[in-house]
Amino acid sequence: MAGSTINTVQNIFQSMEYGPAATPSTATAQAWLDKHSRSLGLFFDGKFVRPADRQSRSLADSKGGHVCSTVCAVEADVSQAASSAVSGHKAWSGLSCYQRAKVLLRLVGVLGQHGQCLSELCELCEASCSPSALVRLLQYYSSWAQLRDTLIPNWTPLGVVAVVVSEDCSLYSLMLKVLPALAMGNSVVVVVPGQSSAPPALLLAQLFVGAGLPAGALNVLTGSDMSLGVKVAQNPSISFVTYSGNKQDGVTLCKATAGMGVPVSVSPNIGATCPFIIFESADIDSAVDAVIEAAFKKKREVHWVLCVQESVLDSVVARLRLRMAGMKCVALHSEGDRVLVDTAVQVAQQQGATLVQSCAAPTPGAQYPPTVLCGAAPSSPFVVSPSPGPLLPLMTFRSNTEAVTLGNHSPHGQAASIWTEDLTLALDTAKSLSVGSVWVNSHSVSDPCLPVSGHKDSGTCTDGGHEGLYQFLRLSSSSSPLPRSSPVSMDYSKFGTAASPAIIPDDSDPASAPMPYLQFVGGKPCKSVSGCSVAVQSPGGGSVLAYCPDGGRKDVRNAVEAAVKVQPGWMKKSPSARAQSLYSLTKGLEAKRRDIAASVSVQTGLSMDEADTEVELSIARLSDWAAYCDKNQGGTPPLPQSGSALSLPEALGVVGLVLPDENPLLSMVTLLGAAIASGNAVVMVPSQKYPLPALAFIQVLQASDLPAGLVNVITGSRDELTAALANHSVIKAIWYWGSAEGCQYLQYTCTSPLKILHLFCQKEDGGKDWTKSHPSLLEEMWRKAVQWKSVWIPTA
């Protein structure tokens, strides 16, 4: 139609078309690219470096035109960038907090001058990021740079941080990692595939130097895939790797870096499925507007699933139909995507889904009209594995509780948007959804002051807010938990499969026969499922002290089942009720102190006095945790927009603890206390060498008023039980003390779903001093035992 008629005033007067959109000028960005001969180099030592003889990657704009090319960095570039970052870190961390803050603020001024160039470049590269969002990030993190030593004493920067992103990661998500790392005094190596975000990242690095950032504090390497990230992680100067982008590349990175002795955190914020819940008490019109705004973008980072209360389904669908009428087709990335979209829609229709479409799908081409697939169910193929393109599945729910069930029934835990005018319902739902961000009567609101952890498979770290700073800091008193190493070649399928030595009857004196112990699952002492036991050697290794159950995969399964049953109730309990339970545990330990001290002494060979001291310290430590329960309770982050934000620390769920050999009792209660004080349930694997104190502690657990199943103790082969924990999807986190091989195994295995790992490579001479009880040690552990959720409730 539009093409065949002439656009006279008279015709337009009848049709009332908007007319062609003005194409924004990109002259400034083009000029910048021309200055660089349209071929951008790498950025380190404070300048662009264009090494010769490198492969390059061409970047095209939406119409297929050549924008520029980027270099594919190789090994030699990585080591140069790393040494640049090391000297950059020296210069940057040597500045005062005030000086660092000033550099970040100065960049705001620089952006005021060159914001046009940046936003045009983003436009060209389709890496949309508004300069105002960047300014907000800079202002927020410059104030943290200023206050680091005042508000976060006892913590120091990690050193050189590698920020690795995938091709589809937005510039905003990239900067949400880079800026806090810089603000805390780290230097950063950005590893970005040479696509959309790469040119703006390079430009920002250049602008940063103009703002006074020391050379080498921010380096940018471009490449073609995740292998560059792996090469960077391998470099021994890198202390920490953090990743943002799609899940798949994140998994690749985790697996390839397993065993390098460098911690890797992952924020897979692209491609998650997120519920968009409309209750009957919602402002339906506003909700429908928001759905349309959120779901049909060309570049959308998450897959929304629309969940509508049955009673208002018709009214929602009617409005969708009206509001979507006349919407234009959305461009797809390729013709291939079009095939996927067509197939998905076809399958949906075969299953009885009805379509709400803005217009009929045009003949093949890389575009598709916004489409709502009504009549979806959680089992629909297009819900289980969403296709690209502007498709939005719509499901219905009956009650408020069912909405939460529906919203939570997903491997992802990224975000949710809920719509209701009922405050109680909004808060109830926000608390019950296991996602990192809840947006009430709004969607896709991000601000650096909101701490967000992806729940379930959606992440292993917290970004944003005060809480998000800690991934870039370590306690001044602690050393790196993992020694740098090269991955050993190991057969992951064989890990933990070695059989325990069989116990055969012998002729020893029945009076001095070693005592058989029981493990603790679901609140009951029991034997292992296999019925087998293993011998516990005396400290010198000369004789058999006792027999303990040889637990395995099935024991872990039973324990996790018991734990996951009681954990939600435990988390819902008021913190003060949790505190009382922990105090009762403390009292129980005091009552049994003789028995426990004896077990410590027998097991470790300490004198009774020394053993008493350890029990004493353990009682004090448990009391610390009991007291801690109701002291740290999130807050109300101040957003620039008007409204109320909440940041809530939440339990991780079920945590697997593979306990250290040192101070077997004290280390156990320290870790156990941290985990359950913040609402988690635990499955503990006592030290394989020194299991007796933990087994003796079972009687204390049994006598306490902790819910049955909250704490489980399973003994046996450490490796076998570690493998069992790693392969149970319910377990969200594993704290591991053990071999370098075990660390590598966990890093490699715990990727789908992602688990939060805290790995400690046990050294013979001992690493951590468990007897110290500095307040920041407690805080550090507490931070590891929670994940953050932010709730945003906008008001006028």
């Binding site: 919602a282 005018e421 009567n441």
Partner: protein
């Protein structure tokens, strides 16, 4: 011309279910205000559309037959012939939608228009405009007299006391009676949104006004401190959409008060197009209550045709 809204029985259940999220509405309004307005010939066509939707208004204490006469003649030829001719729009019947005056000036307006051989509608405000604080009987009588004098459209004001205190039945009854008094004249119901307190109240009052048979709902009298704002308009057009979805009847919308620039008129058209769709982009379902707006639109059109910015005195005054 489609059928008039016959109204329906008052549905209090529907009204009690109304929920409006203020923040979301403000955000939507921002989005619409940030919408790129049409350019070049699209802009000219849209501005002419806006002209055809204007209720050219004078509501002042010093109105006399002479300025009403000038207003009427301006309404018949709102854009100079030579400009329309250049755009090939001279034979498209570009007049304003109506002239809008006080009841006592209706006869003057009718006379002027008749003398000029025009069938342009004369609208009259009535029912104790602007406050509505006069007895029901005199308000009804005012409507009847305006109709008798030749007004074909009546802009009534609702009783804010009833709306603010939630007496929806009483408000419904009053508006219903006004509608009867209007007879064949179209009724535009002024909600005086600036005095209704909340968006939820605006939505409810809109629904009640439509249930009682309003042909249009109108934002304000132009005499309140807050007049036609985009957020409040979004609430009202959503009520119109809601009513349309439930009954199939299309009710018109008229923002009034404070609309002065050509750019604003384009935003209003955008808002209607976005929220209600193309069907509502006609004088039958959309009006702009304005007095000084026309002059600015004329200047923009003058610029489109000639490439020059006109001085006010170059264009015929109203």
């Amino acid at each position: 011309m489609s059928a008039r809204n016959p109204g329906m029985k008052l549905d209090l259940g529907w009204i009690s279910k109304v929920r409006v999220n203020t923040h979301a509405v403000l955000k939507r309004a921002q989005t619409i205000q940030g919408h790129k307005t049409p350019k070049k010939q699209w802009q000219a066509a849209w501005l002419l559309k806006a002209v055809t939707c204007i209720d050219l208004t004078t509501l002042a204490g010093d109105d006399t037959p002479s300025n009403v006469h000038r207003l009427c003649l301006k309404a018949i030829q709102p854009v100079p012939y030579h400009l329309l001719n250049k755009m090939d729009m001279h034979d498209q019947g570009v007049t304003t939608a109506a002239v809008c005056v006080y009841p006592s000036r209706v006869a003057d307006a009718v006379k002027s228009l008749k003398a000029a051989n025009s069938s342009l509608a004369v609208a009259s405000v009535a029912t104790g405009f602007p406050a509505g604080q006069t007895p029901l009987e005199t308000r009804l009588q005012e409507v009847r007299l305006a109709v008798a004098n030749g007004a074909t459209e009546i802009d009534i004001v609702i009783n804010r006391t009833l709306a603010l205190t939630g007496q929806w039945e009483a408000m419904y009854e009053e508006v219903r009676q006004f509608r009867e008094a209007c007879g064949d004249a179209h009724m535009k119901t002024i909600l005086a949104v600036g005095e209704l307190g909340t968006f939820t109240n605006v939505y409810k009052a809109s629904l009640v006004a439509m249930m009682a048979g309003s042909d249009f709902i109108k934002t304000s009298t132009g005499k309140e401190s807050v007049n036609a704002t985009y957020p409040v308009a979004i609430v009202m057009v959503r009520a119109i959409r809601d009513y349309f979805l439930c009954t199939g009847h299309k009710v018109g919308f008229k923002p009034a008060g404070g609309i002065r620039t050509a750019h604003e008129s384009l935003l209003w058209l955008t808002l209607i197009k976005e929220e209600l769709g193309h069907d509502w982009l006609c004088p039958h379902l959309f009006r702009l209550g304005a007095s000084s707006l026309l002059a600015d639109i004329e200047r923009q059109i003058y610029h489109h045709v000639t490439g020059q910015y006109a001085a006010y005195h170059e264009l015929p005054m109203a």
